[in-house]
Symmetry: C2
Subunit: 442 residues, 2 copies
């Protein structure tokens, strides 16, 4: 393909493709056309002036890598960021988060807060997220409006939720949600989310999985975030949570279990055998003192693991660079083994691993010809990223969201030189601050 | 004092004084004259045009707080950042770090690398550091040149070090070091650093402490970073490391023990009784899989604890905001108690706690009239720091070094709007990159 046919040419810089070969190309040229990566070459001399693509991005001094994939978020919770911290978990949840959600979560709040969360994500290198919350259609609308790639999971629980006070209506609403988004918007993938084995009855867990199978979509659930969950489920069903889900028949390769801090070896065997993937959220589980997932062992057992931040009320940011750093470090100290969770492994978890987990690896997760152009540029010309011996190491242990210079999603530049191009940031922040005033005044 | 007499007036913004009262002043005015904070007021209306200080800093939308104090660094190790990661500790140390130091550490390398490290620190809100390395005079010179406040500790160990191949000459060199810096430069505080109980003989530990007492300076040592140290010291001396140091008489309120990951309750009692302070470096100890210090219990026992990053070869950055985040989270998950290490406690550890540890609390660590003006401004008008319910929470759990807008040290602006004013950054980075080329080629 000639450069004249390109929408975007990324010129110079160091490509970390994050493909299976983990190839690194210095001084590269990447061509993008109609949202797709159409060419990856080594730059030989200058691009001749006759072959001008519509836009050239100078990436000299930058690392070029796939956009980060945040596999677990509750985006609108940015509106509660810092409202309640350092509290016992049940007090945090029942005296703060649940009452705040009951009172303040509505369509407008969800849309505006999710939009601010997307601004934060674009500015810190995330190009795809998997969200689970209430009024999920509003989150899908916000993603659609600003051009982010999203898996949007409509939530289920056996208690009145802010969007569907009557449980009976949930299933019908979910059907409408899937039908609306499945064929309508290629950047939005609908999914279903059962809150947990302890807040969803067996029939809810089974019925939602049946509907997810019929629709051919992902099925997500929180699982074993807290140790207490084991006792609750054992009392109720006479077995441990993973075995309970297995016996209900809801575990398969389209199921994503979130957290999994308290898996036994038998649990891991079940997840590996059934093909269930895991979303690992280390910072949230550290802050909530929930536990540490046995990720190194999961990876040994070939369980697919993606990385996520969880909601901003328990993290308290959506910066996947910080999450990578914590993921690399927490497992080393827990096992007293500094060789586990190497920088390349963690970077895979945040890119190609996340794409596999969300069944989007045919589209994203690596920079290869034919994949969609979800690409970020990291400015390496900074003292905290100098000198460079090993790019993977710097990206995991020293880079941070603010080092992302440019973000491209589906071939469109959404952030350039730290400026957002598809979100009116002052307007969005003002809308969230207005909501926050009411929350603070309560 | 009238505003006309001021060198700098910080106008607007929210002051987190980090004084004992932990007072917060919205929309404040802070006057600085001859390096000292001379006035703190609430802003009532506009400053009248007749009262112009030499420089007005508009802090609206910012948090104003004391500069962060990094209580343990090996600054020149930024030159080895990312050179060796994810390795077993002994392989990392003996096959990588020690050979690199033997071959590449010299006065020029130390000066240039330390200068780049100071650039990184200024850009991420650190205004004071306590460093321990070889050729420490070169680090003091670099700090003096760029206007950073430093405790510079000359190192001792019973093996040939890059700066003093003959151990016998160490003491004389150390004396010269102290005499040179003690009265000469008010921003530089000399100190002595015994590498550890397992690399320093009893006589070295005792003689260096004697010299430190005579000079009236701090005495630092690594202590119980790795669990193995217990067995080594028990084999050699028939007792555990803290008891060994206690019996040698080197523990007092001018001793700083670094790491302390494997303290027993008896050890903590000894530290508390003797007044020894502790430098806590959570990220380095996580990455090296060294262990987690029992900090919550130390604080309960009124042991003075400051925060530090350690060297960039084991962290891999010098960002104290990230260090605060990790410090707040790691102890929660280790104890499965989300109420330990609250955000205000962690912020104290990184400011007033660090100042106390380094015996500089009469000068720095809080923003109070009469203290030296070591002040940073954090730009809160960003999506990842919105909305604001609790400043402490945001600074610990969501802010990062890149959010620091302006840094003032001893009443001089060293970084403004992310631009360094006292360091030629391209020149410094180029010098370090040249050194790194030789390191990479070996």
């Amino acid at each position: 393909m000639r450069h004249t046919d390109l929408d975007i040419l990324i010129s110079g810089g160091t490509l970390l493709a994050m493909s299976e070969q983990m190839n690194i190309i210095e001084n590269c040229l990447i061509g993008i056309k109609d949202g797709v990566i159409v060419s990856i070459q080594t730059k030989n001399g200058q691009v001749s002036s006759g072959n001008s693509p519509k836009e050239i991005i100078d990436a000299s001094g930058c690392v070029i890598m796939p956009g980060l994939i945040n596999t677990h978020t509750h985006l609108p919770m940015v509106a509660f960021r810092g409202k309640a911290d350092d509290l016992p978990l049940m007090e945090w949840l029942h005296n703060h988060i649940f009452p705040l959600e009951a009172r303040f979560v509505n369509k407008t709040m969800v849309y505006e807060s999710a939009m601010m969360a997307m601004a934060e994500m674009m500015l810190s290198g995330t190009t795809t997220f998997c969200d689970a919350y209430f009024f999920e259609a509003s989150i899908a609308e916000a993603a659609q409006a600003c051009g982010m790639r999203a898996v949007a999971a409509q939530g289920f629980a056996d208690f009145a939720t802010p969007d569907n006070p009557k449980y009976e209506k949930m299933m019908a609403a979910a059907d409408r949600f899937v039908n609306c988004w499945k064929s309508y918007a290629p950047m939005i993938t609908p999914a279903f989310f059962c809150h947990s084995p302890y807040t969803c009855s067996s029939s809810t867990l089974v019925n939602v999985k049946k509907a997810a199978r019929e629709a051919g979509i992902l099925y997500l659930t929180h699982l074993l975030e807290q140790r207490d969950e084991i006792e609750i489920i054992e009392k109720r069903y006479g077995k441990q949570p993973v075995r309970h889900l297995y016996d209900l028949g809801v575990l398969d390769e389209n199921t994503v279990a979130v957290h999994c801090n308290w898996l036994t070896k038998e649990d891991m065997k079940i997840l590996a055998d059934t093909g269930v993937g895991v979303s690992h959220n280390p910072e949230s589980s550290m802050k909530l003192a929930a536990g540490v997932a046995p990720v190194a062992e999961m990876l040994e057992r070939k369980i697919n693991v993606g990385l996520g931040t969880d909601g901003a009320a328990s993290n308290n940011d959506l910066d996947m660079f910080r999450e990578m750093d914590s993921a690399a470090k927490i497992h080393k100290v827990m096992s007293l083994n500094p060789t586990v969770m190497s920088a390349p492994e963690v970077l895979q978890m945040a890119t190609s691993g996340g794409a596999k987990l969300l069944k989007l690896d045919h589209l994203i997760g690596s920079i290869e010809v034919g994949k969609r152009a979800d690409i970020i540029l990291i400015d390496m010309n900074q003292p905290h990223l100098s000198p460079v011996y090993n790019y993977y190491s710097h990206l995991v242990y020293a880079a941070r969201g603010a080092d992302v210079k440019t973000s491209i999603i589906d071939g469109k530049i959404v952030m350039k030189d730290r400026k957002l191009l598809t979100i009116d940031l002052p307007k969005t922040m003002d809308a969230v601050n207005q909501i926050a005033k009411q929350i603070a005044a309560q």
